[in-house]
Structures are given as structure tokens and as C-alpha cells.
């Protein structure tokens, strides 16, 4: 059974539900069951939060180091440099997300123009 197996109008939607919604929300439901057992201010909560945070940090690294689409053609050093400048701007200039985003974008766009 593939995306093109059936021509009925509802097949793609069933395909999305079975191959997209189900294998995604099942993890969310498991997370609710696990999170429901974790007690506030317990070591288990610190551990779960550490795993989740490291994982999101992994997503950040992935987006910067191995992006897809138009960003994939830019130099990896340019992207790392832009992210570093943006993060330094965040730390040094009063911890504003918008300042960091603008600083990173200036470096990135300038780099893209001259490459």
C-alpha cells in the first residue's frame, strides 16, 4: 500500500493519519503517561528535563549544521559564525531574542551576498 495505491479522495487523508498522525501522537501519549508518573522536584523530573533539553539542543545543532532546502547550499562556517555572533549578541546586549536574531541574520545575509 503506497500513497498512489488507491485513487479514492479519502485515501491520502487516511494515509496521512496512519503514517503521520498515529506514529507521531503515540509518542506524545506515551510522554503524557510517563510525565504523569514523574513527581515535582524529584530527580526523575530533572533527568527527564535534561534529556528533553539536550534533545532540543540537538534539533538546534541539526538546523544549523545540516539544514535542508536553500540554506543547505551555504557554507557551514558561515552558518556557525552567524549563530555564534547571534548568541554572543544575545548574551552581551541585554538578552533579547530579537537582537540575537537580527545580529545572526546580518552576518548570514552579508555572507550569502558575497559568496
Amino acid at each position: 500500500m503506497t500513497w498512489h495505491s488507491l485513487t479514492d479522495w479519502w485515501w491520502p487523508y487516511l494515509f496521512i493519519l496512519l503514517a503521520g498522525w498515529l506514529p507521531t501522537d503515540i509518542w506524545r501519549y506515551l510522554g503524557v503517561l510517563i510525565g504523569g508518573k514523574v513527581r515535582e522536584d524529584s530527580d526523575a523530573l530533572i533527568a527527564v528535563r535534561a534529556v528533553a533539553t539536550a534533545l532540543v539542543a540537538g534539533v538546534i545543532a541539526q538546523l544549523i549544521l545540516y539544514p535542508s532546502g536553500s540554506l543547505a547550499e551555504s557554507s557551514i562556517f558561515l552558518r556557525i559564525g552567524a549563530a555564534a555572533v547571534g548568541f554572543l549578541a544575545y548574551l552581551r546586549l541585554g538578552r533579547h531574542v530579537i537582537v540575537s536574531v537580527i545580529a545572526a541574520e546580518i552576518v548570514l545575509i552579508t555572507g550569502l551576498y558575497f559568496s
Binding site: Y13, T53, G69
Partner: protein, 274 residues
């Protein structure tokens, strides 16, 4: 950045921004909380969450979905299907994996396995989110329903905002936040697809860079203790290494390895303090 709710301003001033829940505090607020569970109060917190659609992170997420609409149309997925995917799956990486599987001619089972692998990360994320969101009387069915709206952006926003929301109103707040984000982005995908908006590649490149910068700074800023910073740095440093060794499980392994490194740090810090 404190943002008063749309309605219920008075209540917000009393219980919303008056105190912060820190790690050391107990589950309940120090004030004897008025159990104001009226529908009106819930609605005003719901609307307060919904109003976060007018924020920088919500805008950044919309730009990511602009890119997704283009990706869907390039791969022969229709407008309605693409919009349905966003609402039903609500995890951008899973959406991109699914479209990749469709255009690669995968079987239903093969596509489901690929999507499941990309979505495992949601399990520890939701598990960490639930203790922050639930109130003393929240039912499990409510949490199961709301968990659908947890994806990376909503997770980061919630973790950052919850400390300013009274505990028993957090589910209402997140319902407003999560459902509005999901609905709006489904519409954004449909609209961009319909207009078949095309931008030069440099615009897309610039837009795609907004997401990691937002995650990086707001996750760093929302940390309430040092263990979060240790977890972030470990994740950032370990990811390229693990990606090199085991690309299929890179995110999940990064989570566990980074989590283990963080727990080692927590133990060490405690031993030094005592």
C-alpha cells in the same frame, strides 16, 4: 517581557505575575490560591494564550511553514492535504519526513516507521512538559488531548511562559496557545500554497535561520537553573559527533547522552556543595 492577559487583568495581577514558581517551591503557590475555576477566568487565560500568536516565536514558526507549503507543492501534495498534515501531525520534521516518504514511493508501513523515528523525540519532551503544565485537578484525558499541540516551538514557549501563569490555569493557557498556533499555521500553509508565493532562495535561507536562533536564545533564557544550560551545551556539542556515528538515531541518542552528562554534572555540583 510580561504580557498581561487580554481579559481578567485584575486576576492576572493578583495571581499571575505576582509570584514565580521556582524549582525549590512546592507544587502549589505560596498564596492560598483562590480556586477561581469559573468559565470566565478560564476563557480569559485561554485568550491570553491565544494572543501569543502575535509574538516573535509564532511569527518565526509561520515563516517555517511558508517554506513547508513550497516543499509540499513541489512534491505533488495538494493544498488540502498539506494543510491537513500540519493540523493532524503538528511536527514540522515529521511532515517533511512524510512528504519525503510519499515522493520516494514508500509503503504505508515504511512511511509510518520513518515518521515514528523522527517523532520519538516528542516523548521525553512531553514527559518534561506535563509536570509543568498540569494543575492539582487536571484530568489525564485533558493532558492527552493537549499533548497533540506540543511541538518544539510550543514547548519552548510554554516552558518559558508557564512560570508567569497560575498553576491551575496553565492547561487553559496552553490550550489557547497550542490550538491557535496549530490552526493558524494550517491556514498559513493553505494560503501560501494557494497564492503559490515564490521567494528568491536567499529569502528562504534567511527565514530558515530564524528558527534555530529563536530556539537557541529562548531555551537558554528560559532556564531556571544551571542544569538546563549544561544540557543545552552537551546537546549542541554531542549532536555532530553522534550524527556522524549513528545518523538514524542521532537526536534520540543526543538526548540520552546529553541527559546523562547533565545528571553527572548535577551529582558533581551537589557533592561539591555539601
Amino acid at each position: 517581557m510580561k504580557r498581561p492577559p487580554l481579559g481578567g487583568l485584575f486576576l492576572a495581577g493578583m495571581t499571575g505575575s505576582g509570584y514565580r514558581l521556582d524549582m525549590a517551591d512546592s507544587e502549589f503557590s505560596p498564596l492560598p490560591e483562590q480556586e477561581d475555576d469559573s468559565l470566565r477566568t478560564r476563557l480569559s487565560w485561554f485568550l491570553s494564550g491565544a494572543s501569543m500568536i502575535f509574538s516573535i516565536p509564532a511569527f518565526i514558526l509561520m515563516t517555517a511553514h511558508v517554506g513547508f507549503a513550497g516543499f509540499a507543492s513541489e512534491n505533488g501534495v495538494s493544498l488540502l492535504q498539506a494543510s491537513f498534515m500540519v493540523a493532524a501531525i503538528w511536527a514540522l520534521p515529521a511532515n517533511i519526513v512524510l512528504i519525503g516518504a510519499i515522493s520516494g514511493g514508500y509503503s504505508l508501513l515504511g512511511a509510518a516507521i520513518a515518521v515514528a523515528l523522527s517523532s520519538i523525540r516528542l516523548m521525553p519532551m512531553v514527559a518534561a512538559f506535563i509536570p509543568e503544565m498540569r494543575g492539582p485537578k487536571t484530568r489525564r484525558i485533558t493532558l492527552l488531548f493537549l499533548s497533540h499541540f506540543i511541538a518544539v516551538t510550543a514547548w519552548v514557549m510554554g516552558m518559558e511562559r508557564f512560570q508567569h501563569i497560575p498553576r491551575h490555569m496553565r492547561t487553559s493557557y496552553f490550550a489557547g496557545l497550542g490550538m491557535t498556533l496549530t490552526a493558524t499555521n494550517s491556514l498559513v500553509v493553505a494560503l501560501v500554497y494557494f497564492l503559490s508565493t515564490d521567494f528568491p532562495p536567499i529569502v528562504f535561507a534567511a527565514l530558515f535561520f530564524l528558527t534555530p536562533m529563536y530556539f537557541l536564545t529562548s531555551l537558554w533564557g528560559s532556564a531556571r537553573d544551571r542544569s538546563i544550560h549544561v544540557a543545552m551545551v552537551s546537546g549542541l556539542v554531542l549532536f555532530p559527533l553522534i550524527h556522524h556515528l549513528a545518523p538514524a538515531y542521532d537526536l534520540l541518542l543526543t538526548g540520552f547522552a546529553g541527559g546523562a552528562a547533565t545528571m553527572a554534572y548535577v551529582r558533581w555540583a551537589r557533592a561539591r556543595a555539601s
